[in-house]
Amino acid sequence: MREGAVVMKIVSAQLELSSDGNFNVINLTDRVSEFVSGSGVQDGHVYVFYQHSTGSVIIDEFEAGIMSDLKEMLDRLAPRDHPYKHHIRAVDYNGHAHLRAALMQAEVGVPVVGGKMALGTYQDILVIDDQVDYEPRYVVLQVMGE
C-alpha cells in the first residue's frame, strides 16, 4: 500500500425485522447508530436498504401525528380496497403496498461524521412495512468511509 493512502472501509450487515405489516413503522435509528459505531468508520456514509417491494425506508420525525398523517395520505393515494390489476394474478392481494412503496423509496443514506450519523434533532430512520401479513423483513446496512 502506498504510504499515506486513505484506506476505505466497507462494512455490511443484514437486519431481520419482525413485523406484521399493515403500516407497521419500525424505528431503526438506534440500531443503525450502533452499527455505525461498531464499524469503526469515522467519516463516510451509511446506507439503509429495505429488501422488499411492499414497504419503504424514510427519514422523518417519529411523531404520532406525522405517522397518522402519512398513513392517511397513503390511504388516499393507494387505498387498500381498490381493485388492483396486481390481484388478477391471484397470488397475493397487496397492490396498495406495492404502489405505496413506489411512491417512497427503498434506500436512505446518512453522512457519518466523527463516527456518528449526522442526523438532525428530529430525524429518525423509519421502515414503513405495508405488507399484509406477518413475515420477517430484511434490511441491509452498509457503511463506507475511513
Binding site: 431481520e16 419482525s18 406484521d20 424505528n27 401525528g65 405517522m67 397518522s68 406477518y134
Partner: protein
C-alpha cells in the same frame, strides 16, 4: 397548541420495562430471533391484549412457552417476567418536573400483582396519587382500542382535548389520535424530555436547567 390538564402515561415501556423485554428475559436460552418473531406475531399480540384486559397471568405464562415450543413451566416464566420488570427512575424524575397544574395519570396494562412487585414501585407514589393509577384489568373493557381511551378520559373527568396520552406503542398512539385524544409516541427518556419541552409541559425552572436532547 391546546392546554394540557391531564397526561396519561401508558406505563408499559415508559414508566416500567416493556413487557416484551421481560418476556424475552424470562426465556434464557431461547434464540433471540425466535423470540423477536413471536413477539411481533398476532398470537402474542392477542395474548398480550387478553392479559391487559384482565386475563389470567398464569394463562399468559403458559401460552408463551407453548407458542415458542420451549419447555418452561408457567411459574418459572412468571418469576422470570416479574424479576425482569423494573421502574424507570429517569422517567419518574421527569414526570416529577411537570408544571404543577398538570395531573399525571398512570395506565397499567399488566396484572396488578406483577405491578405491585415492581422494584421501586413505592417511588411511583411520588408522581401518581393512588386514585390516578388506573389498572385496565379493572375496566371491564372488551378491547383495548378504542375502549381504553374512553375509559381514561372518563376516569380523569377532563375534557378530551385537554388530555394527552403518552405511549410507547405507535399504533395505539395513532388510534388515540383517530379517537380525538391527543397522543405522543415515547421511546426512551430522552424522547420524553423532548416531548415535555416541546409541548411546554415542564416548569420554567426545569427548562432553565435543561436543553432538548
Amino acid at each position: 397548541m391546546g392546554q394540557t390538564d391531564a397526561i396519561f402515561f401508558w406505563a408499559d415501556g415508559i414508566v416500567h420495562t416493556p413487557l416484551q423485554e421481560a418476556v424475552a428475559a424470562a426465556l434464557p436460552g431461547t434464540s433471540a430471533g425466535a423470540i423477536a418473531r413471536y413477539l411481533a406475531s398476532p398470537v402474542y399480540k392477542d395474548a398480550r391484549e387478553q392479559l391487559a384486559l384482565g386475563g389470567e397471568p398464569a394463562e399468559f405464562c403458559m401460552h408463551v412457552p407453548d407458542a415458542l415450543h420451549v419447555s418452561a413451566g408457567a411459574e418459572a416464566v412468571q418469576a422470570g417476567i416479574t424479576a425482569a420488570l423494573a421502574v424507570c427512575p429517569e422517567a419518574l424524575g421527569l414526570i416529577g418536573s411537570l408544571e404543577p397544574g398538570i395531573r399525571p395519570w398512570l395506565v397499567v396494562d399488566i396484572p396488578r400483582a406483577w405491578f405491585e412487585r415492581l422494584p421501586f414501585a413505592g417511588t411511583l407514589a411520588g408522581c401518581f396519587s393512588c386514585e390516578r393509577i388506573l389498572f385496565l384489568e379493572d375496566a371491564g373493557l372488551p378491547s383495548l382500542v378504542p375502549g381504553a381511551f374512553e375509559y381514561l378520559v372518563a376516569a380523569s373527568g377532563t375534557e378530551r382535548g385537554r388530555c394527552l396520552l403518552l405511549d410507547s406503542s405507535l399504533r395505539r398512539a395513532m388510534a388515540a389520535l383517530d379517537a380525538g385524544l391527543p397522543a405522543g409516541i415515547i421511546l426512551g427518556t430522552r424522547r420524553l424530555q423532548r416531548e415535555f419541552l416541546l409541548r411546554r409541559l415542564v416548569s420554567q425552572q426545569y427548562v432553565m436547567h435543561s436543553r432538548p436532547a
